[in-house]
Symmetry: C2
Subunit: 150 residues, 2 copies
Amino acid sequence: MIFTTKAEYGVRLLIELGRHDAGQPVSLKAIADAEGLPLAYLERIVALLRKAGLVESTRGAHGGYRLARPAAEIRMDEAVLALEGAVAPMTCFVDDTEGQRVLCSHETDKGNGCATKLLWTRVQGGVVKALANTTLSELVEFSDRAPINA
Amino acid sequence: MIFTTKAEYGVRLLIELGRHDAGQPVSLKAIADAEGLPLAYLERIVALLRKAGLVESTRGAHGGYRLARPAAEIRMDEAVLALEGAVAPMTCFVDDTEGQRVLCSHETDKGNGCATKLLWTRVQGGVVKALANTTLSELVEFSDRAPINA
DNA sequence: TGCGATTCCGACCCCGTTGGTAGGATTACA
DNA sequence: TGTAATCCTACCAACGGGGTCGGAATCGCA
């Protein structure tokens, strides 16, 4: 599979924050209970989002987390990038987004370099585009009116 | 990362087959030497492609593998599907392509079902589209005129 | 008819990552 | 001062990925 539970739980967490008013923070415990996720594990996941500047925290009693920006301004490529690290289709795949170049560890091989990189580049493009075209507010709205049984 | 070395090696293998005349088979050893890949591991990978009907084999001396179809008619979504199994973004993600439905193991949760499934569905769509729009012959051509140092 | 080249197949193994826990330190409110 | 919460680091079990090994089965050929 492509993504791990970090992305799954992290996005669920963001959605849960998006369902509340941005004013006052929501405690992790409330989110863990609502989603049925392990609290200690969520702590580590939310730390990734905080380092990426997507959520803000308040410590102490009645503390918790809230979105650092309006949900409409949070694109999911940012979120997934923060949660999973680089979204690369292969281990040998390192793209430096600035220079349009795609490096590959097999590039030193005699012969045809990495023909597969053409394919993986396209795949990565598809993933990133799908993520970038989805905002958190979309997911929040979707979750609000999603029937339990479709 | 998204794909494992199975996809990487398997696609490289297909490309190598595509560079030869479809008439006479190419031995795995020749491919392993050309690409610098472990022979025993390639054996297991090519078995996946054979079961999927993408390559044919001839046993015995001077035997080997060849494409079952012209390279132009081999889409990479077939290849990657055969190599990696289902291309699902998450473990909880099971799509039955016929019915347009997307199932999710969290669906039984009280409350909002899986809002994330909207996101993962889009991602999967992006991946599959990128794969389906690429044929083996494209990659073969690309590898033929790819300069070693870009 | 026997030998080498090759595909086929299953068992096995090492190791990094994932998913998760434990325990504590720190901060804030009441 | 107690308690609720964030923070942080270390630890651990299980799983899957990547790879090897040994041996059949099968074919061309001398």
